[in-house]
Subunit: 223 residues, 2 copies
Amino acid sequence: MTTYPPEELAGVYRAIRERRDVRSGFRPDPLPQDLVLRLLQSAHQAPSVGLMQPWRFILIRSEEIRRAVHVIFQQASAEEHQAYSGQRAQLYAKLTLQGILTAPLNLCVVCDATSSHGHSLGRHTMPETALYSAVCAIQNLWLAARAEGVGIGWVSILDPDYIKSLLKIPPSVALVGYFCMGYVDHFAPEPELESVGWERRLSLEDVLRSETFDQPWKGTGKP
Amino acid sequence: MTTYPPEELAGVYRAIRERRDVRSGFRPDPLPQDLVLRLLQSAHQAPSVGLMQPWRFILIRSEEIRRAVHVIFQQASAEEHQAYSGQRAQLYAKLTLQGILTAPLNLCVVCDATSSHGHSLGRHTMPETALYSAVCAIQNLWLAARAEGVGIGWVSILDPDYIKSLLKIPPSVALVGYFCMGYVDHFAPEPELESVGWERRLSLEDVLRSETFDQPWKGTGKP
């Protein structure tokens, strides 16, 4: 049998179910180094196309850098805010969208698609799988962090070129994601965007198809 | 405390460490429907930008469709093979790169970035985060599957346009990944691409940076 014992299986499902995008409530105490390395090791165990391992993790504690990132966020968020009007613009103004300065650790995940590691296997027809490998690493990190009581928030309201310039990331290396990390005393029972009324969760059936994209899920058929 | 009890925490780390890209050894017996839905529910609990939930899951059991996908794979793999020469071309010929016909279930994950769900929040500066949300869903699925004894293999050696045409996926919807799924009696202790000598795993230190991309990891500093 290759199935895990019940407690271990429950842990996997629990982390998946209880993981949240955390933007507030970070405790200021630094994350222990052995914990951070354990989380990053989990990220590093992600699948990658051709065993390319194109992910690179930039750990950012510098307050100077984080302040500069925060300015880049403020610019992008002000522009995004202008894309909304009426009640939705009012709702946008109330959202907490990042914890760049309040979280003790920031993390920038980039993808070095120029690396010869992996010898391009699997990337001739779908080169974007290098980027997707880095995203798999992010999700590993996120789940391990949840199980360890560490909150992670993904900040996408940033101009990638400004971040790349600030963090001295070469043009050939792609910014995949920017994250805030820290201990939290509480994880919300549901996504904040759901509880504040920004968006509702879809049912599973809404996102399933049978055999081809145009065929709705047939709940009675064998999947 | 928001940390999980030891057995649940161990389960999370174990799934991350023991997950493999499975291309062979699939058992032919179908996966029970409740299991498949449990795995897809895990995928559906992934983070998504603006709570957009842009992933759509096409479950494919039809042998006719799988045969057509297999032909598309063979074409792409023959072309990829030609990109190598000498010993590496010989090694490529020995790799098992897919289980399209041997696995009882195939899954195509697509991203509907045209969906108005999420109201574009977080996508004004980084629209690619819609695709990345779908990849997070894939990694959730992969980890839950490992814990359940289900092998998953990602097939990227496919022409996306041919697959989209075959599966009636509209041009505006992106193919993110194509997968083979089934019970396996055994998971390899290390990635196959490592054991056959295609590529080696990097050390964690190789992929860490401090503060900016050009600064190597300072192991003695506080991360």
